[in-house]
Subunit: 257 residues, 2 copies
């Protein structure tokens, strides 16, 4: 997949707001950053920035307004359940300056879902509330749908439900060229090859090299991740990096260690 | 541990910046948010906000300057290694408007560490660079120390090394009352008890209740996490919540499910 590169390809970006005191207290290990990031990569969209904020109006509103304008897409996870600490919809609506309404289709979905589960109570009806003008994101796991308003995608916090919503969105967002990546591992300390890495990156336009050291079995090693939107440039850089490591007497391991 | 509560206790806050393309690409699952959050809780400091930013100067500088002034403490993880993509020190120095210098003690530590490991090369010497005026955070795991400048704590990205740096900082930061928490679990959908949760939280000043639903073994349950700085208030609220669940014919499980 090469591209004629007279005009640089448009880069699509996204931001993510993870909403929830449980992440900030350390009670819950976040899983959504990695899953949203990986999914975006496949859509050809780059996750540029993430904020984790508390279940408080000012924190959510500030983050929404800072991030929605400077990225192509803004995703949120968390805070769309039926309880008092679920304030994402109200906070996003306030950030957008629109009222909160009950979405008729969301209400119908919940009526159907809870028909055999005790009925649609006031608390459950909270999950049909959306910022005015919103569409819905299908929820294939449980009842309450996600919400789509302009370039904002409001999703659940429970990772399994988030995954289902991402799956429902697959292929629906305009993206650019996906970032391709390949890894070369090596039993070498990154400090021993720092100059080599920098020179290799500089010699290959449009390519980024990340260096990720590790310590295993009492030995020091590193994985070098080469990223690029062009498969040919990527392959050329991987070959150059591998040769340079070999020239130092170090064995490169394609795919990483 | 009760407090006479005429004057509300001072609340100490911290922010965290996670620096690294590997988190934003989804390649690496972040572990530092949860470990820094848990450690801060024990120090009596509340993690208020987290940002994950790329290995780029403008992103790091914006986050540093937004967060360092409005929190008692600012922590960063990542980007302090020897390679070209490690730019945290330079970016923080630029945010602070101070030059980068080689810290004599950091240089001595690295000289010693690399004496039997091939010597202190230019790349390795990069890890002795600090914003002028900085102190060091001991690194008990590998050579290069962390950095302390004003209320900013610059730590490694590799979670095991970060853990050692946090350990070295234990007890050195002024904090307030630690937030205590207890969990009541129940095999009940959170939407069935939403009103009860809200009423219980409102009836107990200074107490927050978070609701975390789960699906296991084909059944719906929830954990309700009650948080408070006062042990007596916490116990009173836990008792009230448990009684209210029992009154609904639902068995509360102390400690959570």
């Amino acid at each position: 997949m090469t591209q004629s590169s007279e005009i640089p390809a448009r880069i699509y970006t996204a931001a993510l707001i993870v909403i929830g005191d449980e992440i900030l207290s350390g009670r819950t290990q976040d899983k959504n950053i990695a899953q949203v990031a990986s999914w975006l990569g496949v859509q050809g969209i780059r996750l540029k920035e993430v904020r984790v904020v508390s279940d408080e109006f000012p924190a959510i509103i500030e983050a929404v307004n800072a991030l929605r304008l400077r990225n192509d897409y803004l995703f949120t996870t968390g805070g769309i359940g039926p309880t008092h600490d679920d304030i994402t919809v109200d906070a996003v609506a306030e950030a957008l300056g629109v009222p909160v309404i009950v979405h008729p289709e969301a209400r119908a979905i919940l009526e159907d879902y809870y028909a055999t589960r005790g009925g649609l109570t006031d608390a459950r009806l909270r999950m049909a509330r959306v910022p005015e003008g919103a569409g819905l994101i299908p929820n294939r796991t449980s009842g309450a749908p996600g919400i789509h308003w302009g370039n904002i995608y409001i999703m659940a916090g429970v990772p399994m439900i988030t995954a289902g919503m991402l799956d429902a969105l697959t292929g629906t967002l305009e993206g650019g060229l996906p970032v391709l990546s390949e890894t070369v591992g090596c039993w070498v300390g990154e400090s021993e090859v720092a100059a080599l890495l920098q020179a290799t990156e500089r010699a290959h336009d449009g390519v980024q090299i990340g260096s990720y050291p590790f310590f295993r079995e009492g030995r020091t090693g590193s994985n070098f991740v080469v990223r690029c939107v062009d498969a040919e440039q990527l392959a050329t850089c991987i070959t150059a990096l591998s040769s340079a490591l070999e020239a130092l007497g170090r064995e490169p391991v394609l795919g990483g260690i």
